[in-house]
Symmetry: C2
Subunit: 581 residues, 2 copies
């Protein structure tokens, strides 16, 4: 009876409909936990009573109180050798005493689970569904519960889990019409291919065209949550250093200048399903995370106030705009969201979703970092961070903190788990979580050059027109404001690349000194050889782009493989069928 | 008797010594012109007398005077239909009347060659050695000179060519000790692998180490000239808009703040020899240009004054620092060098080496664009642009104008040939010069992520140490200030990548908000299997880097092929031999 189940997305049909009921369990950035090795040794473990498990809660609470009082996660060295600290998962009992000091989420957080079942915590802290986690736990197994104790525990858990921390999430109605859902709790969903296209009534001149909408409609903007949506409608004010601004203050044009910018929001894991497919073909370790296709990206017109103005109003811009510490290191602006882990009545106030960017970026007028309250002319929805969301044009979505309620200027990056231990690309030589040293790698901000075919969809049957060509359309984008120099499409394996036509860029990009929007393109490419009459032939369409700095996309040959499957930017291949004429 | 000869560099031995005498002819960014198709039709052409050829000079001079007076290159439509305008090349006579209006270098420039031999002009404007040029000319052939006229012309040309436009170039002494020379006229030479390494007396702790010097010594900095070095010791003053500053003014610390920055200078064609090798293997068209290996790059500490300060002092910074035109396009800062084409006594004042960068870059304090007069603590040498050179950290070397004598703020990019019709990456679908539309592509400024092995040299025999590892070292770099996240090295074909150790970055990069220096690295990698005792086995060492925006280098499989072979950044493979233990 595992509480943490997960499901691999369907890689091969972008129009596949996700079933809500099969997704009601937690499913975050992690592959299928059922692929973990079976705990073969557990059957030989001694029986431990539930009472004995619960007894270790006292030890844990004492230790927790001491750590809280000292505001530290540094565990005394004798913890673990003096007492066992037990938790359960399914029917197995584990001694975490020695492990506490190594817990990536900190000692205090794991201590809260001591003396009982770990499942509710894992359900909340979704990173535990990564396969390496289970292997770590397996090594700590010390016993099994009796059948009657398992039954007792199950009953209690059922009650605890009834208080669903995600119960407050927005009602999502027919969200699956526009979005392909990867998980419901937390909610994660990307745009279906069709949702990114212009609606037919928008296209006067060529009703048969499948162009991308240059600005993505709000209901087609992907959603990527790590935690439950905040309870109570989002914060009504924001703390900036020692100051506090009501949301209404920020929206008051007599107090803050309005600013609008069209910019791409993209999940760091966009296109991960391709990375996963490539890894399977090359027998590389599976890149861990949700199997996003090519729709965890959107180009939106954001409206708000410049973060630099907010920082100045709060008096937290340092003298002479010193953007580095006295030691010469970058200073940072930290953002904290109102979304926090919740288990039952307990809220993990230190577990908020947070991120940071260099202070230099925040103050650079060319980068247009915003505290935004509108997208595409409408107020932000709860789903997209109502009332306030950080917008960092040119930067990966992980730093665009939703429901932002605190902003600080600090010498260090955000202490958030997602800033410290995720959203950093690990070198190719790091093959397991155990080898991962996130602190050795820079935090991901800008993103590499990338592109994808959106039309035709994977597996579609396309009919060439009379001139023997087929229509292909999609997007291209590079982070840090680097524009796209050109986009090329190939068909089949003849190695011939055709420069894409109908390339659309942000008309303002020279004004902005950077290309924060994506580049959309639509073109027709000649089918190399028509399939025999009445038959169908598989064709592979490929797209690649080059950014203005000359960066290209690698072939999908493992060149950008990394353990977390972040920023996959290999040449995108789309398999379709060509109908005979 | 072709006057334009060229020579392909030796791709396979970085220690090969270039022979001066074999290089005394012109050799610029173009492959071997002897690969042009033979002019098979020329033998059937009618004989035309040298007097008739010369007669067309009068027509040309009249037209030239008119164009000069109107300061235009727009040729009246009837030119070419009314009169023949003849030139000669070898013994063939060509009518360029219809071609004048299409000449990429402008009508006025080609008119100067009318009525005589084109060879001296081609010798100066080295872009004519590209293969497509000869094909264009072949279509214009209208006759042949008699044997006696050819002899007469040859004698005159011999005299004209005796006045060597490069005679004023610096005496270069034993330059080949440090540099591998690709051409002498104009002078083009890159650092030999050994020249980039720390000298043994610099390495106290590990005398057997082959580390790169983090700052490249001046005598190991590559040289890339397009034209003769200016006569007379370089300009003594610089025009900035309507103002003029003596060089001494710029160096006067009471007038201008000094500024120092360590930054990579890299030729846009660095590593082109690898692009050419790849193209041969894949049967792609040969990327046109000098066959630079991995040494057309240097990391230097530059000293000078901020271009932004100079622009302000000259009063040419627009109101409100408007960096765009009224129409919303980028404005530019144009630089003109004192190096100009020279044929005999004639100087082409409009043919100067020039370039431009967006005004926004010039004014961005984070980009540290300089008018520099010192490198590594010494005054610039004539070879490197004495007295003043433009330094654009993060930007390709083509914009770092040497001997700069004019700076202008303008709505358009520099009119220079090298800004308009070169140093732009053409799409992969452009396979010939005839298909090239440089105006459709953005000017190259920033550069893609790249890396190279410098030690061991190509073809070297390396001996593994007792632990079975071999030493590898080199550089990694990405333009636009993007830092390097990590460097990985592989050996053999097992697909295992080892993260490089001893990675050195600019200690100041956080202070600067960008990584303008290169990243050097030295590491030891395990030899997969030792060759049999007493034998040798070929090994292939590879290096790849990832920049902080997640860009990776593609495999050398044509992914970054472009007609001019610019910015090749494929994974670098170095073939060596492993000695048996």
């Amino acid at each position: 009876m595992p509480f943490v189940t997960s499901r691999r997305g369907d890689d091969d049909g972008s129009s596949a409909t996700a079933k809500a009921d099969s997704l009601s369990s937690n499913d975050d950035d992690a592959p299928d936990s059922t692929t973990s090795p079976p705990r073969s040794s557990s059957s030989r473990l001694p029986t431990i009573s539930l009472d004995e498990v619960r007894a270790s809660r006292a030890v844990a609470i004492t230790l927790l109180a001491r750590l809280e009082a000292e505001d530290t996660d540094v565990v005394p060295t004798d913890v673990g050798s003096k007492h066992r600290i037990l938790i359960t998962h399914d029917d197995v009992v584990y001694d975490i005493g020695e492990f506490i000091k190594n817990h990536p989420g900190g000692a205090r957080r794991i201590l809260r689970a001591a003396g009982g079942a770990v499942e509710p915590f894992w359900k909340m802290y979704a990173q535990h569904s990564a396969p390496g986690v289970r292997a770590v736990l397996d090594e700590l197994a010390v016993g099994r519960l009796s059948t009657s104790d398992v039954a007792k525990l199950q009953e209690e858990l059922a009650q605890e889990l009834e208080s669903d921390p995600f119960a407050n999430d927005p009602k999502r109605g027919n969200v699956e019409e526009k979005l392909l859902v990867h998980s419901y709790k937390p909610f994660n969903a990307e745009a279906r291919a069709e949702s990114l296209l212009l609606q037919q009534h928008d296209i006067d001149d060529d009703p048969a065209s499948h162009r991308l909408a240059f600005v993505t409609p709000n209901d087609a903007v992907y959603v990527r949550h790590h935690l439950p949506v905040p309870v109570g409608g989002g914060p009504t004010s924001i703390a900036v250093g020692e100051c506090r601004f009501d949301v209404a203050d920020l929206m008051d044009e007599s107090k803050f200048r309005r600013h609008r910018v069209k910019a791409v929001l993209q999940c760091s894991g966009n296109r991960r399903s391709e990375a996963q497919r490539e890894a399977r073909e090359l027998e590389l370790p599976d890149p861990q995370g949700l199997p996003w296709k090519q729709g965890a990206i959107a180009n939106v017109e954001w409206e708000g106030v410049l973060l630099a103005d907010v920082l100045r109003a709060a008096g937290v811009v340092p003298e002479k705009k010193m953007v580095t510490t006295n030691d010469g290191y970058e200073r940072h602006v930290q953002f904290a969201g109102a979304d926090v882990p919740r288990v039952g009545d307990w809220k993990d106030e230190t577990g908020f979703y947070g991120a940071s960017i260099p202070l230099r970026h925040a103050l650079d007028v060319n980068r247009e970092v915003l505290v935004a309250f509108r997208m595409n002319g409408e107020p932000l929805s709860m789903e997209h961070g109502y009332p306030l969301r950080i917008i960092v044009p040119g930067c990966t979505g992980a730093r665009w903190v939703k429901w932002v309620e605190r902003i600080e200027v600090a010498d260090d990056e955000s202490p958030s788990f997602w800033q410290q231990n995720d959203y950093r690309i690990l070198p190719g030589s790091v093959r397991t979580r155990a080898d991962a040293d996130f602190s050795a790698m820079p935090a991901l901000n800008g993103t590499p050059v990338s592109s994808a075919i959106i039309w035709p969809p994977e597996g579609a049957t396309v009919s060439p027109s009379e001139d023997g060509t087929v229509e292909v359309s999609g997007w291209a984008h590079a982070g840090s404001g680097r524009g796209i120099a050109y986009v090329e499409v190939s068909i089949g394996s003849d190695g011939v690349w055709h420069q894409a036509e109908e390339v659309r860029r942000d008309a303002d990009q020279d004004m902005r000194g950077g290309s924060f929007s994506w580049t959309t393109w639509r073109t027709r490419v000649p089918l190399p050889a028509a399939p025999s009459k009445g038959g169908e032939g598989e064709i592979v369409l490929r797209v690649r782009a080059r950014d203005v700095d000359g960066n290209v996309q690698p072939d999908a040959n493992g060149a950008c493989w990394n353990l977390r499957g972040l920023c996959f930017n290999g040449v995108h291949a789309r398999r379709c069928n060509a109908a005979a004429p």
